[in-house]
């Protein structure tokens, strides 16, 4: 059941659902849910959303309206029950040590939960403009926007020049594929090896059965975003092929 809904930025919503406690136990950062947004037969499939955070018996997601499914969701009233599958997939390996989080646009949606469970030292956020820039309270944050409406003016890669890569044992990266690829390419090899990326792909089932959610695998073949991921070691992905898709 939707217990809270809020438009936190224009077209960007935060929704909290009431869930059983067993759900919360398994809601590790980076895992996702498959939400039945449709109230009838169409759209046919569910929609995947990263678990943004959990507390008590509620789970939160943050999403942007980009098409019909998210539109329906944004219009769904508090108090209404939606079918929700999850937590699904493999989340972040919660390594000890200091974390650097790098998020592009809605890619930061999963960071609140991750930051709560790790020693997060720095958050780098990029977005097209202030209207798309998520804020995550309590974290040391550097932000950059393409139009300069908030933080520095530029691309997230511009923020990376001053990063002291050695000081982070783990890096979490999530955003549009071209942005992630550009970030990866600027990293020293060691940082890259320490990076976990949270991937997106169009999904059918969400639970490993349909082979619909392929992400190109380093060395050939495909990974299943929903069950091999959605969080992957950066090195396990074939970035060239992946960028080619987008």
């Amino acid at each position: 059941m939707i217990i809270e809904k809020e438009e936190i930025l224009p077209g960007i919503y935060r929704i909290a659902f009431e869930v059983p406690l067993s759900f919360i136990d398994e809601a590790q950062p980076g895992r996702f849910i498959q939400l039945e947004v449709s109230h009838d037969s169409f759209p046919v499939t569910r929609r995947p959303f990263t678990i943004s955070s959990t507390s008590g018996n509620s789970v939160e997601i943050i999403f942007e309206v980009v098409g019909r499914g998210t539109e329906i969701l944004a219009e769904t009233d508090e108090g209404r029950s939606l079918r929700l599958l999850g937590p699904l997939g493999c989340g972040y390996r919660l390594n000890p040590g200091k974390w650097l989080l790098i998020g592009g646009g809605l890619g930061a949606a999963g960071f609140p939960g991750l930051a709560a469970r790790t020693e997060c030292d720095l958050l780098l956020l990029g977005a097209s403009s202030r209207d798309k820039l998520l804020t995550i309270p309590g974290l040391e944050t550097a932000a950059i926007t393409e139009d300069g409406s908030s933080g520095r003016n530029g691309l997230i890669t511009d923020l990376l020049e001053t990063v002291l890569w050695d000081s982070f044992g783990s890096i979490a990266l999530c955003g549009p594929v071209p942005m992630m690829k550009a970030v990866i390419e600027m990293m020293p090899l060691q940082a890259r090896a320490n990076t976990q990326v949270s991937a997106e792909a169009r999904m059918g089932c969400g639970w490993g059965a349909c082979e619909g959610c392929s992400v190109p695998k380093a060395g050939g073949g495909f990974l299943k975003c929903c069950s091999d991921g959605p969080v992957f070691p950066a090195d396990s992905i074939d970035w060239e092929r992946w960028e080619g898709i987008h």
Binding site: V44, A201, G204, C210, G212
Partner: protein, 291 residues
């Protein structure tokens, strides 16, 4: 129909007419873990081929206004890996497993089946001569009654397990292909695989699917399946397994009334992994409430 409701298929009795359609249930393992196989008579596996197949480049799933396009391209680890890793786990399934078999050549089909005969797990086979998402074989096989008969004869020659031939609605005559499957020794036909469909982005002039066309499924296609089940079941005496467009208990009853022996649920299973129980229960209620 008398209570308790029973459906007999391939000499076995089931308390449900629902089969989980190929490609939408994997090998049933994920569903088993969640206890979601209750209500299913059997699981039909993802297509299995002789060699491993990567499948098509993504995106492989594209939604349209009223349905779903898929372009999976028979991604599967190949029969060796299926035998080594998947079938041993499938021993624990609470219902039978039917293996969907595909191939690039006519000879691939008996070759895959022969390998699968090594395992005690398969309850039977579904011979997929109708995949819309591959260059070789696929629809082309299913469109030719001669090839359908030839593949059926070959499948029959290597196995005494029952098998169904999964037909295409896209080319040729589905009735003639069904007759050919029966003549070749098939124990059922599946009517039918997905319809060829496509989405085109008019602003870019590009199709989101890399192969342009894909397999289209939608609850709105149910009447197409009903017609094809009716026509094929009137022409042959082996059972017809209906596939296409089911998302309500009424749909299952309609397909059975049109001549289906069993009914598959595919796309809807991705939306509702527990669809089998939901649909079976509500179907039984409908039967009980009807005079």
């Amino acid at each position: 129909m008398d209570k308790p409701y029973k459906w007999t298929f391939w000499n076995r009795e089931f308390d449900s007419p629902i089969l989980l359609a190929s490609g939408t249930a994997g090998f049933g393992l994920e569903l088993m873990e969640q206890g979601f196989l209750c209500g299913a008579a059997a699981v039909i596996s993802k297509a299995t081929t002789l060699a491993p197949r990567e499948g098509n480049p993504p995106p492989r799933i594209v939604e349209t206004r009223f349905g779903l396009l898929n372009s999976i391209g028979l991604a599967n680890p190949g029969v060796d890996e299926v035998l080594k890793t998947l079938l041993p786990q499938a021993v624990d399934l609470p219902c039978p497993l039917i293996i969907n078999v595909a191939g690039d050549t006519v000879e691939d089909f008996p070759a895959v089946i022969e390998r699968l005969e090594e395992s005690p797990v398969p309850f039977g086979y579904e011979v997929n001569v109708s995949c819309p998402n591959v260059a070789a074989g696929g629809i082309a096989f299913g469109a030719s009654p001669e090839i359908v008969e030839r593949i059926s004869i070959l499948a029959r020659s290597v196995s005494s397990r029952p098998f169904s031939v999964k037909l295409t609605p896209n080319e040729g005559s589905i009735v003639e292909s069904a007759i050919a499957a029966e003549a070749g020794g098939a124990d059922a036909v599946t009517v039918c695989n997905t319809f060829l469909g496509m989405k085109m982005d008019w602003r870019t002039g590009k199709a989101p699917l890399k192969r342009n066309v894909g397999g289209y499924s939608s609850p709105a296609l149910l009447p197409l399946t009903v017609a094809r089940v009716f026509k094929t079941s009137s022409a042959i005496s082996i059972p017809v397994l209906a596939s296409g467009g089911v998302n309500r208990a009424e749909d299952i009853l309609e397909l059975i009334a049109a001549g289906a022996a069993m009914v598959q649920v595919g796309t809807w299973l991705m939306r509702r992994p527990d669809a089998a129980r939901e649909l079976r229960d509500s179907m039984v209620s409908l039967l009980e409430d009807s005079p």
